[in-house]
């Protein structure tokens, strides 16, 4: 049985289709990443899976429970860290955890045992009684992670868990998530638009664009799936007009982009292409001014699958961003 099963899930807001017939499943113990540009439908998808937004059509089962028909069983199975920082600023770390334990109906004895342990796990024991408004962004995020775990869920949802954090805090959140996943046997579903984050943490990645699944696989396989394993960035002096054609003729070259003297060459065999390129340059009397060889990154994968034009699209209104006053039919 899969921990998360999504079949043909769709969400419309009026004429706008935020999520368009998505299907995928997530196995137990996986860290599953949802990648996509802003407005691709990631947050709407997470909100449907966490019972916050009812789907227009399709089925989603979490831990075997249907999100529409068995929402409370779903809610007991999942921990959710929303995108916005949603802790109570005026309350202390412990108070925040106590209130949420009560909302989940955790008995007092269990609360007394769980909460110090959770604070220890997210390194906040020292700050347990301080109000959240004095916490840094990273500390708040860690507290929210602890808050999402008060009822010992099986599946953990995180919506952009490290957005807005400094590099040190990001790394500490990553390490914490990996450790928690191991120790608590969690399945984690997270959205992000940091490629390094997805690459480092996720077992599988779904690239979502325009509400549709553009690609779904492990980071390694995704990188292998696009043309060229390496990228050569080269600049020359004294290149002739047909020089780009000479480059395209080199062995293993998949694609050559660029003009005049600067080129970006995708190749299936970086070292071999590099050697051949240097020889070709010597025999043609072209000087290599600079040369660098890079492996394909998830950025390349992302751009390959989502296209790289800047897109300004409208997205589904969320409460936090809502620019308008009242929903139609309100009051």
């Amino acid at each position: 049985m899969f921990d998360v099963e999504v079949e043909n899930l769709t969400k419309r807001f009026g004429d706008f289709v935020a999520v368009d017939g998505l299907s995928f499943s997530v196995g137990h113990g996986e860290i599953f990443g949802l990648l996509g540009p802003n407005g691709a439908g990631k947050s709407t998808l997470i909100r449907m899976l966490t019972t916050l937004v009812p789907p227009t059509s399709g089925v989603a089962r979490i831990n075997g429970f249907d999100v529409v028909r068995q929402p409370n069983q779903v809610r007991r199975s999942i921990g959710v860290i929303p995108q916005a920082m949603t802790s109570d600023m005026e309350l202390s770390a412990v108070e925040n955890l106590v209130i949420f334990s009560k909302l989940y109906g955790i008995p007092r004895e269990q609360r007394k045992k769980n909460i110090p342990q959770l604070l220890e796990e997210v390194d906040l024991t020292q700050w347990a009684d301080k109000p959240i408004k004095m916490f840094s962004g990273g500390m708040r995020r860690r507290l929210e992670i602890a808050r999402g775990l008060v009822h010992q869920p099986k599946i953990f949802f995180l919506d952009e868990p490290t957005t807005g954090l400094d590099p040190v805090s990001r790394v500490s959140v990553w390490e914490m998530l990996e450790r928690l996943k191991r120790e608590r046997d969690l399945t984690i579903i997270m959205t992000t638009h940091y490629m390094d984050e997805a690459d480092k943490l996720c077992d599988r990645i779904a690239i979502v664009d325009h509400g549709k699944l553009a690609a779904l696989d492990s980071p390694l396989k995704l990188k292998a799936s696009i043309p060229g394993k390496n990228i050569l960035e080269v600049s020359f002096t004294g290149a002739s007009k047909d020089w780009p054609n000479r480059l395209r003729a080199l062995p293993d070259v998949a694609e050559v982009k660029g003009q005049e003297n600067v080129f970006r060459i995708s190749t299936n065999n970086g070292p071999r292409t590099t050697v051949e390129l240097l020889e070709a340059a010597r025999s043609a009397n072209v000087t290599v001014a600079s040369l660098s060889v890079q492996s394909t990154t998830l950025d390349d994968v992302f751009v390959y699958y989502t296209g790289h034009q800047l897109r300004d699209t409208l997205q589904a209104p969320s409460m936090a961003e809502s620019p308008y006053v009242m929903k139609r039919g309100g009051m």
């Binding site: 019972t51 916005a84 949603t86 108070e95 949420f100 909302l103 936090a320």
Partner: protein, 370 residues
């Protein structure tokens, strides 16, 4: 029930840590009580009245003497003598004096001949309050001027004897019931309106909605938390406000107990109204924008500051449906007249029905999703 208490506990802990909020919901109504109470309540004094005497005979001099007596004792007005009517009118128009009293040239002759003598008052009617005070004092002077030196034993003139059944009620005491309701309202507006929508906009509600709490537990939690804060504000006002306004025996436990019942009914009605208004609102600007308007529309037509009998028909419609009206009426009975609960049972009934109706509609409109 545990979940309901969790929502309430969270709200009250936050309330305890925001002194600014407590200050606004309790001190602002008290300031209004003191400032409005003394700004409107006092007797009008020290008006300047120009006197133009074109007669100068003995009967006119007798009038002068009565003016001097008023100036020396009641101090309602001070006479300023003019020789020239035009100069007096000029000063009146420029606001230097508040009225002009003219004694015409034929006054004495007409008094002696018994031929309908007249004195004229030219008043600055842009200030209704000063003008009516002036009219009142002069109208009461003339009968004593007219009184004959020797009264007939039996008079055929009917007179009115006024009996006041309560001790003198200064305006500040008249205002206190409205101010108590205002404090409850401000607290409901901030606690149930502004904070509720701010939490929603900041995404705090998203945190609750992913827990297994159900719709009714959420509504009950939010409503009770708001009502408790509003009741605290109301209790502070019924005690501190009564002391400030000089209500006799302000801490009488029986009356405080009766008022507490009314405070609870008022808080529940106002918080339900607020919840109904805010149930589908997401924009944090909305409660702030309607705060002032709602205050004006509910507070002034309630009879808190002026008797409802003077209102035009359209405003009387607001008065009839406005929960403020019944709350203010109830507090007036309990504070100014020290009545029993029977005298306010109608008010309690209306406030309870209003609460049930508003909560019912709000519950239907409430959505447990984003």
């Amino acid at each position: 029930m545990h979940r309901v208490w969790a929502i309430i506990e969270r709200d009250l802990r936050r309330f305890r840590r925001s002194p600014a909020l407590m200050f606004i919901s309790m001190v602002m109504p008290l300031v209004q009580l003191v400032v409005l109470g003394y700004a409107f309540g006092g007797k009008i004094k020290n008006l300047n009245v120009g006197v133009v005497d074109e007669d100068q005979q003995v009967p006119a001099v007798k009038l002068h003497e009565m003016f001097q007596a008023v100036a020396a004792n009641a101090k309602t007005f001070t006479p300023i003598y003019y020789h020239d009517e035009a100069a007096a009118i000029h000063d009146l128009r420029n606001g230097i004096i508040n009225g002009v009293l003219e004694i015409p040239p034929e006054f004495s002759r007409k008094v002696l001949a018994g031929a309908n003598p007249h004195v004229a008052l030219v008043e600055d009617n842009t200030d209704q309050f000063a003008a009516s005070a002036l009219e009142g004092i002069l109208a009461s002077l003339l009968p004593s001027y007219n009184a004959q030196p020797v009264q007939p034993r039996m008079s055929d003139a009917a007179t009115l004897d006024v009996v006041e059944i309560y001790p003198y009620v200064p305006y500040i005491q008249f205002l206190l019931p409205g101010v108590i309701v205002l404090a409850v309202f401000i607290s409901a507006m901030i606690g149930g309106g502004i904070i509720y929508i701010d939490d929603k906009a900041r995404g705090l509600h998203e945190g609750y909605l992913v827990t297994p709490i159900n719709k009714f537990e959420l509504i009950l939690g939010f409503t009770l938390a708001g009502a408790i804060k509003a009741i605290i504000a109301g209790v502070v006002l019924i005690t501190v406000g009564s002391i400030i306004a000089g209500i006799p025996d302000p801490l009488n436990p029986l009356r405080l107990a009766k008022m507490l019942i009314l405070v609870v009914a008022t808080a529940m009605a106002l918080i339900s109204m607020m919840f109904l208004i805010m149930v589908r609102v997401n924009d944090p600007l909305v409660p702030r924008a309607i705060f002032g308007m709602l205050n004006t529309v509910l507070y002034f037509p309630s009879g808190a500051v002026y008797p409802t009998q003077s209102f035009p028909p359209w405003m009387k419609i607001i008065t009839t449906v406005d929960p403020f009206t019944y709350a203010v009426h109830g507090f007036k009975q309990l504070i100014l007249k020290n009545t029993g609960l029977m005298a306010v049972s109608g008010d309690l009934l209306f406030l309870s029905c209003f609460t049930v109706l508003a909560m019912g509609i709000a519950t239907l409109l409430f959505r447990r999703t984003l």
